[in-house]
Protein backbone atom coordinates (compact mmCIF):
# COMPACT_ATOMS: atom_id res chain seq x y z
CA UNK A 1 0.00 0.00 0.00
CA UNK A 2 1.54 3.32 -0.98
CA UNK A 3 1.50 6.40 1.24
CA UNK A 4 -1.43 8.03 -0.51
CA UNK A 5 -3.70 5.02 -0.09
CA UNK A 6 -2.56 4.43 3.48
CA UNK A 7 -3.29 7.98 4.54
CA UNK A 8 -6.69 7.91 2.86
CA UNK A 9 -7.41 4.60 4.61
CA UNK A 10 -6.49 6.18 7.96
CA UNK A 11 -8.70 9.21 7.39
CA UNK A 12 -11.53 6.87 6.37
CA UNK A 13 -11.08 4.77 9.51
CA UNK A 14 -11.33 7.96 11.58
CA UNK A 15 -14.52 9.02 9.81
CA UNK A 16 -16.02 5.60 10.46
CA UNK A 17 -15.33 5.99 14.19
CA UNK A 18 -16.95 9.44 14.06
CA UNK A 19 -20.03 8.20 12.17
CA UNK A 20 -20.75 5.30 14.50
CA UNK A 21 -20.06 7.19 17.72
CA UNK A 22 -22.98 9.63 17.50
CA UNK A 23 -26.53 8.64 18.22
CA UNK A 24 -27.98 10.73 15.37
CA UNK A 25 -26.57 8.25 12.83
CA UNK A 26 -28.71 5.45 14.23
CA UNK A 27 -31.76 7.69 14.53
CA UNK A 28 -31.47 8.72 10.89
CA UNK A 29 -31.17 5.10 9.75
CA UNK A 30 -34.20 4.13 11.86
CA UNK A 31 -36.24 7.05 10.49
CA UNK A 32 -35.33 6.16 6.92
CA UNK A 33 -36.42 2.55 7.49
CA UNK A 34 -39.75 3.60 8.99
CA UNK A 35 -40.41 6.07 6.13
CA UNK A 36 -39.56 3.38 3.63
CA UNK A 37 -41.83 0.72 5.13
CA UNK A 38 -44.80 3.06 5.60
CA UNK A 39 -44.30 4.73 2.21
CA UNK A 40 -44.02 1.40 0.41
CA UNK A 41 -47.16 0.06 2.09
CA UNK A 42 -49.11 3.20 1.16
CA UNK A 43 -47.93 3.30 -2.46
CA UNK A 44 -48.20 -0.49 -2.94
CA UNK A 45 -51.63 -0.51 -1.32
CA UNK A 46 -52.81 2.16 -3.73
CA UNK A 47 -51.49 0.34 -6.78
CA UNK A 48 -52.98 -3.00 -5.77
CA UNK A 49 -56.35 -1.48 -4.92
CA UNK A 50 -56.46 0.12 -8.35
CA UNK A 51 -55.58 -3.14 -10.08
CA UNK A 52 -58.33 -4.98 -8.25
CA UNK A 53 -60.94 -2.24 -8.60
CA UNK A 54 -60.37 -1.80 -12.32
CA UNK A 55 -60.31 -5.54 -12.82
CA UNK A 56 -56.94 -5.32 -14.56
CA UNK A 57 -54.75 -8.36 -14.95
CA UNK A 58 -51.16 -8.50 -13.77
CA UNK A 59 -49.22 -8.59 -10.54
CA UNK A 60 -47.03 -6.21 -8.58
CA UNK A 61 -43.51 -7.01 -7.45
CA UNK A 62 -43.29 -6.28 -3.70
CA UNK A 63 -40.09 -4.30 -4.22
CA UNK A 64 -41.59 -1.94 -6.82
CA UNK A 65 -43.50 0.31 -4.36
CA UNK A 66 -40.41 0.24 -2.15
CA UNK A 67 -38.36 1.92 -4.89
CA UNK A 68 -41.13 4.51 -5.31
CA UNK A 69 -41.07 5.22 -1.57
CA UNK A 70 -37.28 5.54 -1.65
CA UNK A 71 -37.49 9.09 -2.98
CA UNK A 72 -39.31 10.10 0.22
CA UNK A 73 -37.30 7.94 2.61
CA UNK A 74 -34.07 9.36 1.12
CA UNK A 75 -34.43 12.38 3.38
CA UNK A 76 -33.52 10.26 6.40
CA UNK A 77 -30.18 9.66 4.72
CA UNK A 78 -29.91 13.28 3.61
CA UNK A 79 -30.01 14.12 7.31
CA UNK A 80 -27.45 11.40 8.07
CA UNK A 81 -25.05 12.66 5.39
CA UNK A 82 -25.51 16.26 6.46
CA UNK A 83 -24.77 15.40 10.09
CA UNK A 84 -21.36 14.02 9.15
CA UNK A 85 -20.17 17.49 8.20
CA UNK A 86 -22.27 20.52 9.18
CA UNK A 87 -22.00 20.01 12.99
CA UNK A 88 -18.22 20.20 12.51
CA UNK A 89 -18.63 23.66 11.04
CA UNK A 90 -21.07 24.67 13.78
CA UNK A 91 -18.78 23.58 16.63
CA UNK A 92 -15.41 24.34 15.04
CA UNK A 93 -14.59 20.63 15.08
CA UNK A 94 -13.69 20.93 11.39
CA UNK A 95 -10.44 22.53 12.58
CA UNK A 96 -9.58 19.43 14.59
CA UNK A 97 -10.42 17.28 11.56
CA UNK A 98 -8.18 19.38 9.31
CA UNK A 99 -5.36 19.33 11.87
CA UNK A 100 -5.43 15.55 11.71
CA UNK A 101 -5.91 15.44 7.93
CA UNK A 102 -4.60 18.68 6.44
CA UNK A 103 -4.96 17.61 2.81
CA UNK A 104 -8.50 18.87 2.36
CA UNK A 105 -9.65 16.73 -0.52
CA UNK A 106 -8.75 13.71 1.58
CA UNK A 107 -11.24 14.72 4.27
CA UNK A 108 -14.06 14.91 1.75
CA UNK A 109 -12.99 11.63 0.13
CA UNK A 110 -12.79 9.88 3.51
CA UNK A 111 -16.27 11.01 4.51
CA UNK A 112 -17.68 9.91 1.13
CA UNK A 113 -15.91 6.54 1.41
CA UNK A 114 -17.62 5.93 4.73
CA UNK A 115 -21.03 7.30 3.77
CA UNK A 116 -21.39 5.48 0.44
CA UNK A 117 -21.04 1.89 1.71
CA UNK A 118 -23.04 2.60 4.88
CA UNK A 119 -25.95 4.15 3.00
CA UNK A 120 -25.75 1.47 0.29
CA UNK A 121 -26.03 -1.25 2.92
CA UNK A 122 -28.76 0.68 4.71
CA UNK A 123 -30.71 0.88 1.44
CA UNK A 124 -30.42 -2.83 0.77
CA UNK A 125 -31.32 -3.83 4.32
CA UNK A 126 -34.16 -1.33 4.83
CA UNK A 127 -35.37 -2.11 1.30
CA UNK A 128 -35.43 -5.79 2.19
CA UNK A 129 -37.43 -5.08 5.33
CA UNK A 130 -39.89 -2.88 3.43
CA UNK A 131 -40.24 -5.45 0.64
CA UNK A 132 -40.98 -8.15 3.18
CA UNK A 133 -43.54 -5.90 4.87
CA UNK A 134 -45.26 -5.14 1.55
CA UNK A 135 -45.34 -8.82 0.65
CA UNK A 136 -46.58 -9.85 4.07
CA UNK A 137 -49.42 -7.33 4.17
CA UNK A 138 -50.47 -6.93 0.53
CA UNK A 139 -50.24 -10.52 -0.69
CA UNK A 140 -53.26 -11.26 1.49
CA UNK A 141 -56.43 -12.54 -0.20
CA UNK A 142 -58.23 -9.24 0.53
CA UNK A 143 -55.91 -7.51 -1.95
CA UNK A 144 -56.54 -10.06 -4.65
CA UNK A 145 -53.28 -11.91 -4.15
CA UNK A 146 -51.67 -9.64 -6.73
CA UNK A 147 -48.39 -9.02 -4.89
CA UNK A 148 -45.50 -11.35 -5.56
CA UNK A 149 -41.83 -11.25 -4.66
CA UNK A 150 -39.90 -12.69 -7.57
CA UNK A 151 -36.22 -13.01 -6.69
CA UNK A 152 -35.13 -11.79 -10.12
CA UNK A 153 -36.93 -8.49 -9.60
CA UNK A 154 -36.44 -7.91 -5.90
CA UNK A 155 -32.66 -8.31 -5.89
CA UNK A 156 -31.90 -5.75 -8.64
CA UNK A 157 -34.44 -3.36 -7.10
CA UNK A 158 -32.76 -3.53 -3.69
CA UNK A 159 -29.27 -3.14 -5.14
CA UNK A 160 -30.24 -0.17 -7.30
CA UNK A 161 -31.94 1.43 -4.30
CA UNK A 162 -28.72 1.02 -2.31
CA UNK A 163 -26.80 2.74 -5.11
CA UNK A 164 -29.41 5.52 -5.29
CA UNK A 165 -29.12 6.13 -1.53
CA UNK A 166 -25.33 6.12 -1.68
CA UNK A 167 -25.28 8.68 -4.51
CA UNK A 168 -27.86 10.92 -2.82
CA UNK A 169 -25.84 10.80 0.44
CA UNK A 170 -22.61 11.76 -1.29
CA UNK A 171 -24.46 14.55 -3.13
CA UNK A 172 -25.70 15.87 0.22
CA UNK A 173 -22.18 15.63 1.64
CA UNK A 174 -20.95 17.81 -1.22
CA UNK A 175 -23.72 20.33 -0.50
CA UNK A 176 -22.73 20.25 3.20
CA UNK A 177 -19.14 21.18 2.38
CA UNK A 178 -20.38 23.84 -0.04
CA UNK A 179 -22.87 25.56 2.30
CA UNK A 180 -21.10 24.74 5.63
CA UNK A 181 -24.38 24.95 7.53
CA UNK A 182 -27.24 22.61 8.40
CA UNK A 183 -29.93 25.05 7.29
CA UNK A 184 -28.21 25.65 3.96
CA UNK A 185 -27.67 21.97 3.34
CA UNK A 186 -31.23 20.96 4.17
CA UNK A 187 -32.69 23.68 1.98
CA UNK A 188 -30.49 23.05 -1.05
CA UNK A 189 -30.77 19.26 -0.71
CA UNK A 190 -34.55 19.38 -0.46
CA UNK A 191 -34.86 21.75 -3.41
CA UNK A 192 -32.47 19.73 -5.56
CA UNK A 193 -33.86 16.30 -4.69
CA UNK A 194 -37.58 17.07 -4.49
CA UNK A 195 -38.70 20.72 -4.65
CA UNK A 196 -37.33 21.90 -7.98
CA UNK A 197 -38.17 18.78 -10.04
CA UNK A 198 -41.75 18.82 -8.76
CA UNK A 199 -42.09 22.56 -9.42
CA UNK A 200 -40.75 22.05 -12.93
CA UNK A 201 -43.35 19.36 -13.60
CA UNK A 202 -46.07 21.62 -12.20
CA UNK A 203 -45.17 24.39 -14.66
CA UNK A 204 -46.78 22.14 -17.27
CA UNK A 205 -44.33 23.26 -19.93
CA UNK A 206 -42.38 20.76 -22.00
CA UNK A 207 -39.11 22.48 -21.12
CA UNK A 208 -39.88 22.21 -17.42
CA UNK A 209 -40.83 18.60 -17.86
CA UNK A 210 -37.69 17.76 -19.81
CA UNK A 211 -35.50 19.53 -17.24
CA UNK A 212 -37.13 17.81 -14.29
CA UNK A 213 -36.50 14.41 -15.91
CA UNK A 214 -32.79 15.10 -15.64
CA UNK A 215 -32.86 15.88 -11.94
CA UNK A 216 -32.06 13.31 -9.22
CA UNK A 217 -35.72 12.61 -8.34
CA UNK A 218 -36.77 11.21 -11.72
CA UNK A 219 -33.30 10.00 -12.63
CA UNK A 220 -33.36 7.91 -9.44
CA UNK A 221 -36.85 6.56 -10.14
CA UNK A 222 -35.80 5.66 -13.69
CA UNK A 223 -32.64 4.01 -12.39
CA UNK A 224 -34.60 1.93 -9.86
CA UNK A 225 -37.26 1.11 -12.49
CA UNK A 226 -40.17 2.34 -10.37
CA UNK A 227 -43.55 2.01 -12.09
CA UNK A 228 -45.33 4.47 -9.80
CA UNK A 229 -43.79 7.96 -9.78
CA UNK A 230 -45.00 11.50 -9.01
CA UNK A 231 -45.50 11.99 -12.78
CA UNK A 232 -47.97 9.13 -13.03
CA UNK A 233 -46.33 6.18 -14.73
CA UNK A 234 -42.74 5.10 -15.16
CA UNK A 235 -40.00 7.57 -16.15
CA UNK A 236 -39.71 7.44 -19.96
CA UNK A 237 -36.05 6.50 -20.31
CA UNK A 238 -33.87 3.51 -19.46
CA UNK A 239 -32.30 2.81 -16.08
CA UNK A 240 -28.77 3.34 -17.40
CA UNK A 241 -29.59 6.92 -18.37
CA UNK A 242 -31.01 7.51 -14.90
CA UNK A 243 -27.73 6.34 -13.39
CA UNK A 244 -25.77 8.69 -15.62
CA UNK A 245 -27.83 11.71 -14.49
CA UNK A 246 -27.51 10.69 -10.84
CA UNK A 247 -23.75 10.48 -11.24
CA UNK A 248 -23.65 13.88 -12.95
CA UNK A 249 -25.40 15.49 -9.96
CA UNK A 250 -23.23 13.65 -7.45
CA UNK A 251 -20.03 14.70 -9.19
CA UNK A 252 -21.25 18.29 -9.53
CA UNK A 253 -22.20 18.63 -5.83
CA UNK A 254 -18.97 16.98 -4.70
CA UNK A 255 -16.85 19.20 -6.95
CA UNK A 256 -18.63 22.27 -5.60
CA UNK A 257 -18.06 21.16 -2.00
CA UNK A 258 -14.42 20.40 -2.74
CA UNK A 259 -13.86 23.80 -4.33
CA UNK A 260 -15.29 25.60 -1.28
CA UNK A 261 -13.35 23.38 1.14
CA UNK A 262 -10.07 24.06 -0.66
CA UNK A 263 -10.54 27.77 -1.09
CA UNK A 264 -11.94 28.95 2.22
CA UNK A 265 -10.32 29.33 5.61
CA UNK A 266 -11.53 26.73 8.05
Amino acid sequence: MNTWTRELARATAAEWVKLRSVRSTWWCLACMTVFLVLGALAIGGGTVTELVRDGQPGTLSASDPVTSAAVFAQFGLVALAMLTITPEYASGGIRTTLQATPVRGRVLAAKALVLAPVTFAAGVVAGGVATAAVHLVLSAEVFGGRVTAPFAEVVPDLLSMGVFFALVSVTTLGLGFATRSSAGTLTTAFMLLMGVPLLLVMTGTSIGFEASLRMPLFAGLAFMGSSDTPMGGAVPYPASQGLVWLLVWTVAATALGHAVLRRRDA
Binding site: T3, R6, E7, R10, A11, A13, A14, E15, W16, V17, K18, S21, V22, R23, S24, P87, E88, S91, G92, G93, R95, T96, L98, Q99, A100, T101, P102, V103, D265, A266
Partner: protein, 304 residues
Protein backbone atom coordinates in the same frame (compact mmCIF):
# COMPACT_ATOMS: atom_id res chain seq x y z
CA UNK B 1 10.71 24.75 15.85
CA UNK B 2 8.07 27.06 14.44
CA UNK B 3 9.24 29.73 11.99
CA UNK B 4 7.11 32.60 10.81
CA UNK B 5 8.45 34.62 7.96
CA UNK B 6 6.82 37.86 6.85
CA UNK B 7 3.46 36.37 7.75
CA UNK B 8 0.47 38.51 6.79
CA UNK B 9 -3.26 37.89 6.90
CA UNK B 10 -5.88 40.24 5.57
CA UNK B 11 -9.64 39.83 5.80
CA UNK B 12 -11.07 42.19 3.23
CA UNK B 13 -9.33 45.50 3.91
CA UNK B 14 -8.56 44.66 7.54
CA UNK B 15 -5.00 43.50 8.15
CA UNK B 16 -5.06 41.12 11.10
CA UNK B 17 -1.47 39.91 10.94
CA UNK B 18 1.19 42.19 9.52
CA UNK B 19 4.75 41.18 8.63
CA UNK B 20 5.12 38.77 11.51
CA UNK B 21 8.53 37.09 11.61
CA UNK B 22 9.73 35.04 14.55
CA UNK B 23 11.10 31.67 15.60
CA UNK B 24 9.67 29.59 18.42
CA UNK B 25 12.51 27.43 19.68
CA UNK B 26 12.50 23.93 21.15
CA UNK B 27 13.31 23.26 24.78
CA UNK B 28 11.52 26.31 26.10
CA UNK B 29 8.04 27.50 26.93
CA UNK B 30 7.31 30.46 24.69
CA UNK B 31 4.46 32.62 25.91
CA UNK B 32 2.34 34.32 23.28
CA UNK B 33 0.81 37.53 24.58
CA UNK B 34 -1.29 40.33 23.20
CA UNK B 35 -4.55 42.15 23.82
CA UNK B 36 -7.86 40.75 22.56
CA UNK B 37 -7.97 40.96 18.78
CA UNK B 38 -4.18 41.22 18.50
CA UNK B 39 -4.13 38.19 16.19
CA UNK B 40 -2.90 35.40 18.49
CA UNK B 41 -5.52 32.84 17.49
CA UNK B 42 -5.23 33.83 13.83
CA UNK B 43 -1.47 33.27 14.02
CA UNK B 44 -2.03 29.81 15.46
CA UNK B 45 -4.57 28.98 12.74
CA UNK B 46 -2.09 30.13 10.10
CA UNK B 47 0.61 27.90 11.59
CA UNK B 48 -1.77 24.94 11.43
CA UNK B 49 -2.71 25.66 7.82
CA UNK B 50 -6.34 26.23 8.75
CA UNK B 51 -6.26 29.76 7.36
CA UNK B 52 -4.32 30.67 4.26
CA UNK B 53 -1.83 33.53 4.70
CA UNK B 54 -2.15 36.55 2.41
CA UNK B 55 1.66 36.65 2.28
CA UNK B 56 4.61 35.05 3.98
CA UNK B 57 5.08 31.55 5.36
CA UNK B 58 4.57 29.63 8.57
CA UNK B 59 6.76 26.54 8.78
CA UNK B 60 7.09 23.78 11.34
CA UNK B 61 10.46 22.05 11.22
CA UNK B 62 10.92 23.63 7.79
CA UNK B 63 7.65 22.34 6.33
CA UNK B 64 4.28 23.96 5.82
CA UNK B 65 1.70 22.13 7.96
CA UNK B 66 -0.10 20.39 5.10
CA UNK B 67 3.17 18.78 3.96
CA UNK B 68 3.74 17.06 7.31
CA UNK B 69 2.91 13.35 7.24
CA UNK B 70 0.64 12.24 10.09
CA UNK B 71 0.81 15.77 11.52
CA UNK B 72 -0.64 14.86 14.94
CA UNK B 73 2.61 12.97 15.60
CA UNK B 74 4.60 16.15 14.99
CA UNK B 75 2.33 18.95 16.14
CA UNK B 76 -0.24 18.82 18.92
CA UNK B 77 -2.50 21.82 19.23
CA UNK B 78 -5.38 22.89 21.41
CA UNK B 79 -7.21 25.83 19.88
CA UNK B 80 -10.75 25.62 21.22
CA UNK B 81 -11.68 23.06 23.83
CA UNK B 82 -15.36 23.30 22.91
CA UNK B 83 -14.77 22.51 19.25
CA UNK B 84 -16.04 18.95 19.28
CA UNK B 85 -19.28 17.08 18.72
CA UNK B 86 -21.24 17.33 21.98
CA UNK B 87 -22.88 13.95 21.42
CA UNK B 88 -19.67 12.00 20.94
CA UNK B 89 -17.76 10.62 23.92
CA UNK B 90 -14.32 12.01 24.67
CA UNK B 91 -12.84 8.59 24.16
CA UNK B 92 -14.43 8.20 20.71
CA UNK B 93 -13.19 11.69 19.80
CA UNK B 94 -9.62 10.68 20.66
CA UNK B 95 -10.03 7.27 19.00
CA UNK B 96 -10.99 8.94 15.72
CA UNK B 97 -7.96 11.25 15.96
CA UNK B 98 -5.67 8.30 16.72
CA UNK B 99 -7.03 6.34 13.74
CA UNK B 100 -6.54 9.29 11.41
CA UNK B 101 -2.80 9.45 12.09
CA UNK B 102 -1.99 5.79 12.69
CA UNK B 103 -1.44 6.31 16.41
CA UNK B 104 -1.78 3.12 18.51
CA UNK B 105 -5.08 3.06 20.42
CA UNK B 106 -3.36 2.43 23.77
CA UNK B 107 -2.23 6.08 23.54
CA UNK B 108 -5.88 7.08 23.98
CA UNK B 109 -6.00 5.40 27.38
CA UNK B 110 -2.57 6.78 28.26
CA UNK B 111 -3.35 10.42 27.53
CA UNK B 112 -6.74 10.19 29.23
CA UNK B 113 -4.93 9.01 32.34
CA UNK B 114 -2.32 11.75 31.97
CA UNK B 115 -4.99 14.45 32.02
CA UNK B 116 -7.00 12.69 34.72
CA UNK B 117 -10.12 12.13 32.65
CA UNK B 118 -10.52 8.35 32.86
CA UNK B 119 -14.22 7.79 33.47
CA UNK B 120 -15.56 11.15 32.34
CA UNK B 121 -14.30 10.39 28.82
CA UNK B 122 -16.93 7.70 28.39
CA UNK B 123 -19.85 10.10 28.56
CA UNK B 124 -21.02 12.73 26.08
CA UNK B 125 -18.39 15.42 25.54
CA UNK B 126 -21.15 18.04 25.69
CA UNK B 127 -21.73 17.19 29.35
CA UNK B 128 -18.14 18.05 30.34
CA UNK B 129 -17.43 21.27 32.21
CA UNK B 130 -15.18 23.83 30.54
CA UNK B 131 -12.25 22.67 32.67
CA UNK B 132 -12.87 19.03 31.75
CA UNK B 133 -13.15 19.96 28.04
CA UNK B 134 -9.86 21.79 28.42
CA UNK B 135 -8.28 18.60 29.78
CA UNK B 136 -9.74 16.60 26.90
CA UNK B 137 -8.31 19.13 24.45
CA UNK B 138 -4.89 18.82 26.08
CA UNK B 139 -5.20 15.03 25.87
CA UNK B 140 -5.87 15.38 22.12
CA UNK B 141 -2.79 17.59 21.74
CA UNK B 142 -0.60 15.05 23.57
CA UNK B 143 -2.04 12.06 21.69
CA UNK B 144 0.63 11.78 19.00
CA UNK B 145 3.54 12.44 21.42
CA UNK B 146 4.44 15.47 19.27
CA UNK B 147 7.62 17.55 19.14
CA UNK B 148 5.73 20.81 18.85
CA UNK B 149 2.84 21.81 21.09
CA UNK B 150 0.56 24.82 20.78
CA UNK B 151 -2.05 25.82 23.31
CA UNK B 152 -4.50 28.69 22.98
CA UNK B 153 -5.54 29.81 26.48
CA UNK B 154 -5.08 26.36 28.06
CA UNK B 155 -5.90 27.34 31.64
CA UNK B 156 -9.24 28.87 30.69
CA UNK B 157 -11.86 27.38 33.00
CA UNK B 158 -9.44 25.30 35.06
CA UNK B 159 -9.49 25.27 38.85
CA UNK B 160 -6.32 26.27 40.77
CA UNK B 161 -5.11 22.67 40.86
CA UNK B 162 -5.70 22.41 37.14
CA UNK B 163 -3.81 25.64 36.53
CA UNK B 164 -0.81 24.35 38.42
CA UNK B 165 -1.05 21.03 36.62
CA UNK B 166 -0.96 22.79 33.23
CA UNK B 167 2.01 24.88 34.38
CA UNK B 168 3.95 21.76 35.43
CA UNK B 169 2.96 20.01 32.20
CA UNK B 170 4.24 22.87 30.02
CA UNK B 171 7.50 22.94 31.95
CA UNK B 172 8.05 19.20 31.68
CA UNK B 173 7.23 19.20 27.95
CA UNK B 174 9.79 21.95 27.39
CA UNK B 175 12.34 20.18 29.60
CA UNK B 176 11.96 17.13 27.35
CA UNK B 177 13.20 19.34 24.52
CA UNK B 178 9.85 20.01 22.87
CA UNK B 179 8.70 23.31 21.41
CA UNK B 180 5.90 24.73 23.56
CA UNK B 181 3.99 27.75 22.27
CA UNK B 182 1.23 28.93 24.56
CA UNK B 183 -1.03 31.96 24.55
CA UNK B 184 -2.60 33.35 27.68
CA UNK B 185 -4.20 36.43 29.17
CA UNK B 186 -3.02 35.58 32.64
CA UNK B 187 0.23 37.48 33.14
CA UNK B 188 0.95 36.09 36.58
CA UNK B 189 0.61 32.62 35.11
CA UNK B 190 2.92 33.45 32.21
CA UNK B 191 5.48 34.93 34.57
CA UNK B 192 5.63 31.57 36.31
CA UNK B 193 5.60 29.36 33.20
CA UNK B 194 7.30 31.03 30.26
CA UNK B 195 11.00 31.23 29.44
CA UNK B 196 10.54 33.39 26.43
CA UNK B 197 7.83 35.80 25.37
CA UNK B 198 6.39 36.93 22.09
CA UNK B 199 4.13 39.96 22.38
CA UNK B 200 1.98 41.15 19.49
CA UNK B 201 -0.45 44.03 19.18
CA UNK B 202 -2.69 44.82 16.20
CA UNK B 203 -1.06 41.99 14.30
CA UNK B 204 2.47 43.38 14.64
CA UNK B 205 5.37 42.07 16.65
CA UNK B 206 5.97 44.22 19.75
CA UNK B 207 8.51 42.12 21.60
CA UNK B 208 10.31 38.81 21.15
CA UNK B 209 12.67 38.33 24.08
CA UNK B 210 13.43 36.27 27.17
CA UNK B 211 10.96 36.78 30.02
CA UNK B 212 13.59 38.39 32.28
CA UNK B 213 14.52 40.92 29.61
CA UNK B 214 10.93 41.97 29.04
CA UNK B 215 10.35 42.48 32.74
CA UNK B 216 13.60 44.48 33.01
CA UNK B 217 12.33 46.82 30.28
CA UNK B 218 9.38 47.84 32.41
CA UNK B 219 9.67 51.38 33.78
CA UNK B 220 8.90 50.15 37.27
CA UNK B 221 12.10 48.14 37.25
CA UNK B 222 14.50 50.21 39.31
CA UNK B 223 17.21 50.22 41.93
CA UNK B 224 16.26 51.33 45.42
CA UNK B 225 19.00 52.97 47.52
CA UNK B 226 18.85 54.11 51.15
CA UNK B 227 21.63 56.33 52.31
CA UNK B 228 22.14 59.13 54.87
CA UNK B 229 23.86 61.13 52.05
CA UNK B 230 21.05 61.15 49.55
CA UNK B 231 21.89 64.68 48.33
CA UNK B 232 25.47 63.74 47.41
CA UNK B 233 24.42 60.53 45.69
CA UNK B 234 21.70 62.33 43.73
CA UNK B 235 24.30 64.70 42.30
CA UNK B 236 26.54 61.77 41.34
CA UNK B 237 23.66 59.93 39.70
CA UNK B 238 22.67 63.01 37.76
CA UNK B 239 26.25 63.43 36.55
CA UNK B 240 26.25 59.82 35.35
CA UNK B 241 23.12 60.56 33.31
CA UNK B 242 20.79 58.45 35.46
CA UNK B 243 17.22 59.40 36.35
CA UNK B 244 16.14 59.24 39.95
CA UNK B 245 13.29 60.03 42.26
CA UNK B 246 13.40 60.77 45.94
CA UNK B 247 10.38 59.28 47.69
CA UNK B 248 11.87 59.86 51.17
CA UNK B 249 14.54 61.90 52.92
CA UNK B 250 17.10 59.06 52.84
CA UNK B 251 15.80 57.13 49.85
CA UNK B 252 16.43 57.28 46.11
CA UNK B 253 14.82 55.23 43.34
CA UNK B 254 17.05 54.99 40.27
CA UNK B 255 15.68 53.87 36.89
CA UNK B 256 17.65 52.64 33.92
CA UNK B 257 20.58 51.33 35.93
CA UNK B 258 21.79 48.08 37.40
CA UNK B 259 22.44 47.50 41.09
CA UNK B 260 26.14 47.10 40.25
CA UNK B 261 26.29 50.45 38.48
CA UNK B 262 24.68 52.34 41.36
CA UNK B 263 26.78 50.49 43.95
CA UNK B 264 30.01 51.31 42.08
CA UNK B 265 29.09 54.99 41.79
CA UNK B 266 28.46 55.20 45.54
CA UNK B 267 31.68 53.37 46.31
CA UNK B 268 33.78 55.68 44.11
CA UNK B 269 32.29 58.70 45.89
CA UNK B 270 32.77 57.09 49.28
CA UNK B 271 29.08 57.36 50.06
CA UNK B 272 27.81 55.07 52.81
CA UNK B 273 24.76 52.93 51.80
CA UNK B 274 22.24 51.36 54.18
CA UNK B 275 20.36 49.55 51.51
CA UNK B 276 20.83 48.70 47.87
CA UNK B 277 18.33 46.45 46.14
CA UNK B 278 16.69 45.88 42.76
CA UNK B 279 12.95 46.44 42.44
CA UNK B 280 11.39 44.19 39.79
CA UNK B 281 8.33 45.19 37.85
CA UNK B 282 5.77 42.43 37.38
CA UNK B 283 5.23 41.04 33.91
CA UNK B 284 1.77 42.53 34.06
CA UNK B 285 3.14 46.07 34.42
CA UNK B 286 5.78 45.56 31.74
CA UNK B 287 3.17 44.06 29.43
CA UNK B 288 0.76 46.93 29.93
CA UNK B 289 3.40 49.46 29.03
CA UNK B 290 4.36 47.46 25.93
CA UNK B 291 0.84 47.14 24.64
CA UNK B 292 -0.57 50.46 25.81
CA UNK B 293 -0.75 51.76 22.23
CA UNK B 294 -2.24 48.68 20.68
CA UNK B 295 -5.18 47.79 22.87
CA UNK B 296 -7.98 47.42 20.36
CA UNK B 297 -10.92 46.81 22.64
CA UNK B 298 -9.77 48.68 25.72
CA UNK B 299 -12.15 50.52 27.99
CA UNK B 300 -11.92 54.23 27.30
CA UNK B 301 -10.34 56.19 30.12
CA UNK B 302 -12.42 59.13 31.22
CA UNK B 303 -10.50 62.33 31.76
CA UNK B 304 -11.16 63.69 35.23
Amino acid sequence: MISLNGLRKRYGDRTVIDELSLDVRPGAVTGFLGPNGAGKSTTMRLILGLDRPTAGTALIGGLPYHRIRNPLRTVGALLDARALHPGRSGRAHLTALARSNGIPLRRVTEVLETVGLGKAARGRAGALSLGMSQRLGIAAALLGDPEVLMFDEPVNGLDPDGVRWVRDLMRSLADEGRTVFVSSHLMSEMQLTADHLVVIGRGRLIADAPLAEIIARGSLTAVVVRTPHADDLAVRLGAAGLRWERPGENELVVTGATVEHVGDLAHEAGIRLHELRPREASLEQAYQELTADSVEYGARRERV
